[in-house]
Each structure stands twice: as C-alpha cells, then as structure tokens.
C-alpha cells in the first residue's frame, strides 16, 4: 500500500473518526460545546501539559532550538500573509495574518504527532502547543479581532491554567522531583481525556458552524496555511538548524489548519468572523487530504 495511504489510515483517519464522532454526538445529543471545552481547557489539557512537561526528557537546547525555529516560521508566515493581504480591508488583512499564525496546535496536532512520531513527537508537539497557547491568548485577540489592551491580554493569558500547569511541570522536571505514583496516576487519568475531549469538541464545533460558503479570501487563507505553511516551516526550520524529528514536528505544525479557537476569538473580539470561521472549517476538512501527504514527506526527515 502506498505510504500516503498507510498514513491516512493509521494516523490521520483515527483522528478524523473521533472528530466525526464529535459531530455525530453534537447532532444526536444536542451537546453544548462550552462546558466540555471548559473541562478540557481547565482540567484535562492542563493535566496533559503538566504530565508531559514534568516527564519531558528533551534537553534545554532542543527546546530552545525548537522554539526559535517556530518563532522564525511564525514571523515569516505573518509577513507573507501581510504582504498578500495588501489592499484588503485592515480587518480582513489581520484575519489573514491570524489564520496563518494560529495553527491547530492542540486538538489536531497533538494526536497526529503522537500517532505519527510516537511519544518523542508528542513531547515536541506539546512544547509548540504551549507556545501557541501563549500566542493565541496574548496577541490572538488583536490578530483575528480588533486590537485589545496589553492589560486585557495579560489577564487572559494569566487566567489560562495550561500556562500554570506547564510551568509547574517544568519546575517539577527541572528540580528532579517525582510526585507520588498515585497522584501522578490521578493526573494521568485526566490527561488521558484531553486529546479525545478536544477532538470531540472540534467535531461538535464544526457541525455547528453556520452557513458554509467560503469566500475567495477564505480560500486564500486556507491555501496559505495548508499549502505554503509546511514549506515555510521546512525552510525556516532548516535555516534555524533543526534536523530530524525536531524539523518534522515543525513541518507538521506548519501544515495544521487554523485553530478553532481563532474563530472563537474572532467572534469574541469583533474580527472578521466569517473569514476566520470559513478558513477553519474548510482548512480542517481539507487537512484530511493534505496531512497524509505532508506526513509522508515529514517522516523522511526523521
């Protein structure tokens, strides 16, 4: 069987099947997404971030290199989007930049990284996820919405428990502490729920998306994210000195569609919600096709 099909079946399809289950549940049981999202954001995902970072075996140099490569990629992607969006309205242009630099780092990237690259890939993907979360909840509102104050941005990020859980995990890791096994298992039970819950949430959110007829601007955003994103990530990663699994994980996040949270921020902060929402829905659907292709190439880097 061609490698791309194997990756589709073994890595990408399981993830999309859970998203489809979420969509079916959303229709069948009329589940509200906000409370499930709240359990995921305030309990399960922080537990996963804590567990991964507390047990992280990556050296400081690897983490620094990875983050530097990611920051470089985001800057280049933002600059390119701003260039392409010249002549668009300011709100549309910001939306294009936002959709380019706010990838779906959690509910799609984490499971795909785990299935494709194993625990070592998940560790690296989680480092990028924490960085993306910081970006999402500091600059995110200004990127996909209207500009916000620094104070409001700071309050948002400080109220986000995954940051504190990640810091705690890093402290535990750095100090060489080993919490009692029973406590670690309780955290583990919650952490195990994180990826399925965020995938189900994504499914429910997608099926609830309002009318769906993406504009030309939305298709531009999707093309930029899914088509150009992985190429930019590979180029910037190579320049930043990333190789092997580090580079593959950066390429993978470059190939991720725009995060669902970006659409939520666009609504919350009066941005171009239609453009961002359409880019999220179309990008996530198309990723079923593009991700196996990118993974086929990315796995050759490992």
């Amino acid at each position: 069987m061609p490698a791309v099909l194997v990756l589709l079946l073994d890595v990408v399809l399981p993830v999309f099947l859970v998203i489809a289950a979420g969509a079916a549940i959303g229709v069948r049981f009329g589940l509200e997404v906000a409370p499930i999202n709240r359990v995921a954001l305030y309990a399960a995902v922080p537990a996963l971030a804590y567990r991964t970072l507390a047990e992280l075996e990556l050296g400081g140099a690897t983490v620094t290199r990875l983050l530097a490569g990611y920051a470089g990629y985001l800057l280049v992607a933002a600059a390119l989007a701003a260039l392409i969006g010249r002549g668009w309205t300011p709100i549309q242009r910001r939306a294009l930049v936002g959709t380019s630099v706010l990838p779906n780092a959690a509910n799609l990237n984490l499971p795909v990284a785990l299935f494709a690259f194993g625990a070592a890939g998940l560790e690296r993907a989680l480092v990028l996820y924490v960085a993306t979360s910081l970006l999402m909840f500091t600059l995110g509102p200004s990127l996909v919405g209207r500009p916000t104050t620094l104070g409001r941005a700071l309050r948002t990020v400080l109220g986000f428990p995954v940051l504190w859980a990640a810091l705690l995990g890093l402290v535990v890791n750095g100090a060489g502490l080993s919490p009692p096994t029973a406590l670690a298992r309780a955290v583990g039970l919650l952490a195990d729920a994180a990826i399925p819950l965020v995938l189900l949430t994504l499914g429910v959110q997608l099926v609830r998306a309002r009318r769906w007829r993406p504009s030309g601007a939305a298709w531009t955003a999707v093309g930029l994210k899914l088509g150009v994103g992985p190429l930019l990530a590979a180029a910037v990663g190579l320049v930043a000195g990333l190789r092997g699994l580090d580079l593959a994980v950066l390429v993978l996040i470059g190939a991720m569609p725009t995060a669902v949270n970006a659409a939520m921020l666009a609504v919350e902060f009066d941005g171009d919600a239609a453009l961002v929402g359409d880019a999220v829905v179309a990008g996530t659907a198309l990723a079923l096709v593009t991700l196996p292709i990118v993974l086929t190439l990315a796995l050759r880097l490992v």
Binding site: L9, D10, L13, P14, V15, L17, V18, A21, I25, R28, F29, L31, E32, P35, I36, R38, V39, Y42, A43, A44, P111, F115, P180, T181, A182, L183, R185, A186, G188, L189, L190, A191, D192, A193, I195, P196, L197, L199, L200
Partner: protein
Amino acid sequence: MSTVAVAIVPLTLLIALGFALRRAEFLPEPFWPGLDRLNYWVLFPALIFVSLATARGGLEGSGRVALAVWGGLAVVATLALLGRRLLAADGRSFTSVFQGSVRFNSFAAFAVVPVLFPGAAGLTALLVAMTVPVVNVASVTVLARFAGRHPLRWSRVARSVAGNPLILASLAGIVVRSVELPLGPFEDALGLLGQASLGTGLLSVGATLRFRGVAAQLRPIAGSSVLKLVALPLATWGFAVALRVPPEQLAPLLVFQALPTSSAAFVLARAMGGDERLMASILAVQTALALGWLPVAFAVAGRVVAGS
C-alpha cells in the same frame, strides 16, 4: 507506594474533584447530564468494546466465571427479596435497596481492577459484559413490580437490554475478538474515545454524590451496603470455589464484586418512579465506604487465592 494506594488514591481524588466541581457550580448544571450521556453512549462503550475486542489471553474459562458471578448475584437478590420488609419501609424504598445491592460502578471497575491485577483489563471488560445485562433486567423488573408507577412490561425489560450501549458494545467486542476482525483505524479512534472515559466518568460519579438525608435512612443504606460490599463477594467466592475458578481470575472477580453501586441506579430510579433520594444516599455512602473497603477486599482476595 503500594499497589492499593496507586489504585484507590486516584479514584478518590477524581471522585472528590467531581463532587467539589458540582458543589462549587464551576460548570453550568446542564453540563453533568450531558457528560453522563456522552459517557454512557460513546466513551464507555468504546472502552468496553476495545478492551474486549483487543483482549489478549486471560479470558479462558469465562463460562465458570460467569456462573460464579451470576450465582453470587442470585443469592444476594434472593436475600434482598426475602428481607424486603426488614430492609425498607415500602416498595419504592426497596427498589433502591435492591439496586444498591446488585449494581456495580463500572468506572471504578476499570479504574481499580486492572491496576490491582495487571493484565486484567480484558477480564474486567468481560465481567462488566456478563453483569450489566443481568443487573439491568433484575433492576427494571424489581422497579416495575415494587415502585408501582409502571406496570411490568416485558417489552420494556427487553428494551433495557437490547438498547443498552454497554451490552451492544460488549457483544460487538466479543464478536470482533472471536472472528479476529482487524479494526484498522477504528482501533486507535475508539481507543482514544475510551481513554477519555475513566477520568470524566469518575468526575461524574463524584458529581452525583449527595450526602444529605443519609442519617434519616440508616437501615436501608446499611442493609444494601452489607449486601453489596460483603454478601455479594462472599456468595461469589462460594460459587467460584465450587466451580474451580482459577486463582488468577478469582482474585479480580472478588474485588470486582466488592465495588460500590452504580450512578446509573440513580438515573433508573428517577426514570421508573423509584426512591431516587434513597438511591442517591446509598450511592454516596457506598462510594465513600468502598474507598476504605476495597483495600480490605484486595487483601482478603489475595489471602483467599493464596490459600486455595
């Protein structure tokens, strides 16, 4: 840290967290029934299905295990029926005593039994599969007979079995395992869904607990707790010894039978006109008791097996 602590402390912490979240109203009230539905229809059936479909070994001689489980349940159900007037003030209360005596918490089963007995995940799923249909039929029948709101209709009993997602998932898992059907991408997808079940399920168990009104109903609560936590494992042990259930299955079986009653009992009591307040009290007390009782059951099971 001992194996027992590794099994029981996480269970306690997550149940306590669920209890605290509900009391603090951290999540809007409609969330909990929504989470229960998600768990009942999707997450937990996925766990049961994957555990059974991918079980490797440990399921041999399951016929003897089934007879021991059902034998123990039959003895306890009979004792409850015989002691009905002693245990409960009226028919509605009795239905809660009965459910509290025979039902078990399947989330606690998966959180505890495979940790205490590594490699017993498949056996745990099988025990759940064997027990769920029997206790469902028994509970629906007793509620219809004694709660008085709904006359006993066999169509309802049949529906409670045929439409139960845990039973359907169990059957599907057993069939897939028997014919060795490859699951392909569904194995990972269902595995992902199943792994969300225990954490969220235990939070839900905690959220269901209500201790108000316990003091006023000590007799039915004590009666159901003795029947469930003590009489059921003892009766099952008797059958298991007579049927020569092998030691590696006997110990998990005894701990399984010492689990507290299920949150689903509360839902069924409410749906069929049972005494839901008493059911909530029984559920709360048994869950709290079991956190101390399960280590004892584990130690006793170990000695029983060592001596057999």
